[in-house]
Symmetry: C2
């Protein structure tokens, strides 16, 4: 039996990525798919594609808060809008890559998104990142130091360039092979695809 792999391009600055991250592991398990978490920089993707965040349209931004709150209730997960929004996610993403090299990539990814979107913490700050690293059993100082490692920086850059090359314009974005799915609101289509229900 062939096993699908879901590539999950995530950026902790994106609230819909947080929401999707609370659901994707259960969906992958239900569909027997493997999950690969790929940190990337949504801001660079916006620059490259000309796409804009929803808050750039006032009426859309106004609705966004209500929409996010509904999703959180629908999923039964906590959510608050951080004072530090939109957060600079370069350091948290580099830290996630360092955490991955230390064998705790997924735990760190979930913890950093939860710190930001459930607890409202400013994850651009080194002290917060150290505490998050420690909470998943990592050496916080070592993780912060690793964010300055050129090899770590390069992985984040490469993930972002790979995303742009493959047509990504927002977050979260999922790939199953060449099939791209954009948005927390496409998880039901992703699930249907993995179950073979969208075949021509």
């Amino acid at each position: 039996m062939s096993v699908h792999t879901i590539e999950f391009f995530w950026d902790p600055a994106s609230p819909f990525t947080y929401l999707a991250a609370t659901q994707i592991e259960a969906l992958a398990a239900e569909c027997g798919a493997e999950l690969r978490w790929k940190p990337f920089l949504l801001g660079k993707v916006f620059e490259a594609t000309g796409n804009r965040p929803p808050v750039s349209v006032p009426a859309k931004g106004k609705h966004l808060f209500q929409d996010l709150a509904r999703w959180a209730k629908f999923y039964g997960v906590p959510l608050q809008f951080p004072k530090s929004f939109p957060v600079n996610s370069v350091q948290p993403e580099r830290a996630a890559i360092a955490a991955d090299k230390a064998g705790k990539g997924v735990a760190f990814a979930k913890a950093v998104m939860s710190a930001h979107w459930a607890d409202g913490r400013d994850i651009s700050q080194a002290d917060e990142l150290k505490a998050i690293a420690a909470s998943v059993g990592l050496d916080g100082e070592a993780i912060i130091a690793a964010t300055q490692d050129p090899a770590i920086k390069e992985i984040l850059k490469a993930n972002t360039e790979d995303a742009i090359k493959r047509g990504v314009f927002g977050a979260p974005t999922f790939f199953v092979g060449a099939e791209m799915f954009w948005g927390n609101d496409r998880l039901q289509l992703l699930g249907a695809h993995l179950k073979g229900k969208l075949a021509a």
Copy 2:
């Protein structure tokens, strides 16, 4: 027992509105809600809000076709991308209002969206609108004549202004009282709301 009313702001130029229109009656029935179809002009809403259609971002436009095809398969409904996209929907919307006055508003709305998105017909053309009107038992010539009636024009203008005033920035948009839901992909949240599952 209080019965919810869903106001459904629709524009046949919008593919996601067509998709939602294939589902909304069943959802309303399931939730015991009444449904009120409100034609409005999405183009005017884009002008007023600064929002832009997805195709205005090339990477987004490229993905749009695949995304729409997936939704159509997911729902089990036909879909083709009309050669006349983006269609000028002023005449079809006025015709829908005239059809409503003749007691066939919903039948016409569904027929005009299906003609455009399932059959690829150019619904800006009077001959097409006449045929669509006839297909739901209306006098096509009378409907076309009514599109020039100032009272009909005024209703479309008023619906559009009402939408903008209430925060609409895209289509489809649904209201349940003051609660706004935007997008075909929010039907599951609309259903959850109607069933009281999103209460604080």
